[in-house]
């Protein structure tokens, strides 16, 4: 049955070559932990992506209950945590995953750095990777405010003051992020929510696509 559906589609749009280009290729020996156990260091990039997928999934489901409004944000999170079955687990996935992403990202970066895998011709992919790192930090920063508890509020207060230290445009940048000159409040929360669930993920997907296409083009860097 499934084979028939697949054949029906394949006959019309010829998907097999697409699949071959994406996934059907050999893993080089020096990257395969089955050959050299130390090759597990090559897994960190994939693990980062895996955790990102968890973040996207759990985040999508969290928005079913969360409201980005100063009156209701904390209450909706509290309701999700205490009244909804498995709500605690899903928020836990998103909460802990956010930290794990940063850890994996760092390990991946260290591997690429110490193996010198960023060298020509892969400098461009290193730069894309650094941008991805910044996007991740941005996601962490904006997501931190959303529960609207004391920790979130004062962390954002501090974060905004850090943004204010940027030379020349600092003041404007802070207002742009906070939505108001003096208040960290209703407008800040909706802004951070929009940045967290729409703007940064869109940038993230685009950069990830470039990151992966470049890997397929250039291949994995050779053994040390």
């Amino acid at each position: 049955m499934l084979q028939k559906i697949y054949d029906w589609i394949d006959e019309r749009v010829d998907v097999t070559p697409i699949w071959r280009d994406i996934a059907d290729h050999e893993v080089p020996e020096h990257v395969n932990p089955a050959h050299h156990f130390s090759a597990f260091v090559y897994c960190f990039g994939g693990l980062t992506f895996f955790v990102v997928v968890i973040q996207i999934l759990s985040g999508m489901f969290l928005t079913m209950y969360y409201v980005p409004d100063i009156e209701n944000a904390w209450k909706s999170v509290y309701y999700l945590q205490t009244e909804v079955a498995h709500g605690q687990i899903v928020r836990g996935m998103h909460h802990w995953g956010a930290s794990v992403v940063i850890v994996m990202l760092l390990l991946h970066t260290l591997r690429v750095f110490f193996q010198g895998a960023y060298k020509k011709p892969r400098e461009l992919n290193w730069m894309v990777g650094v941008l991805l790192f910044f996007v991740m930090l941005g996601l962490g920063f904006t997501g931190y405010l959303l529960p609207w508890d004391n920790k979130a509020y004062f962390a954002t207060q501090v974060g905004l003051e850090i943004a204010q230290q940027v030379p020349f445009i600092g003041d404007e940048l802070k207002v742009l992020l906070a939505g108001d000159e003096n208040i960290v409040g209703a407008q800040t929360l909706t802004r951070f929510f929009a940045i967290h669930v729409f703007f940064l993920p869109a940038i993230l997907f685009a950069l990830l696509a470039v990151h992966f296409i470049l890997i397929r083009r250039q291949g994995i860097s050779g053994p040390l």
Binding site: I54, L57, S58, M60, F61, M64, Y65, N72, K75, S76, Y78, Y79, L80, E83, V84, A85, H86, G87, I89, V90, M93
Partner: protein
């Protein structure tokens, strides 16, 4: 490789194993989010308590009168006091009848003698729906079922109402 005929090739076996493991991981990932998403369907519906609607039995006559009151409603993390209303009267046996004013056609609000052309009937202004005094829909007008009847109880001479109960079509 032995001479025996292999039903499953090595490649097939690996494919099945990888698909199985991958599927297991995906399922493990999705169990909690999906359980969370379908939680409203699985939650037990709490039947509301009867509420004092602020009218004593003595005040109720054989002419339907509109009674308004508020109920406490908990909607997830949001508590509110939405208003409810009913048309209340005593029928020929002296029994109290409390009808929901929500038209069973498309949910507008009906009024007793809401149109001068239709005395002694409930009238819905949206599509000229009509109901008899006991709430039965008048054939030939849009509504197909009678007006819902509130759960009711009299405590110390005061009327208490609960949820409206739908009735089958005439």
């Amino acid at each position: 490789m032995s001479d025996k005929k292999h039903q499953v090739t090595r490649r097939q076996f690996l494919n099945y194993t990888l698909t199985g493991v991958g599927g297991f991981m995906a399922a493990g990932l999705l169990v909690s989010p999906i359980r969370m998403a379908i939680d409203p369907v699985l939650k037990e519906s709490s039947s509301g308590d009867l509420v004092n609607v602020g009218i004593s039995v003595d005040e109720i006559t054989d002419v339907p009168q509109r009674v308004d009151w508020t109920v406490e409603q908990v909607d997830g993390w949001y508590k509110s006091e939405p208003s409810r209303s009913a048309w209340v009267y005593k029928d020929e046996n002296g029994e109290i009848v409390a009808l929901s004013p929500i038209c069973t056609h498309l949910g507008c609000v009906v009024s007793w003698e809401g149109s001068e052309e239709h005395p002694n009937r409930f009238y819905c202004p949206c599509h000229d729906g009509l109901y008899e005094k006991d709430g039965t829909n008048v054939p030939g007008t849009p509504p197909l079922t009678p007006l819902a009847v509130y759960e009711q109880e009299v405590r110390d001479g005061i009327l208490f109402l609960g949820n409206p109960i739908d009735r089958k079509g005439a």
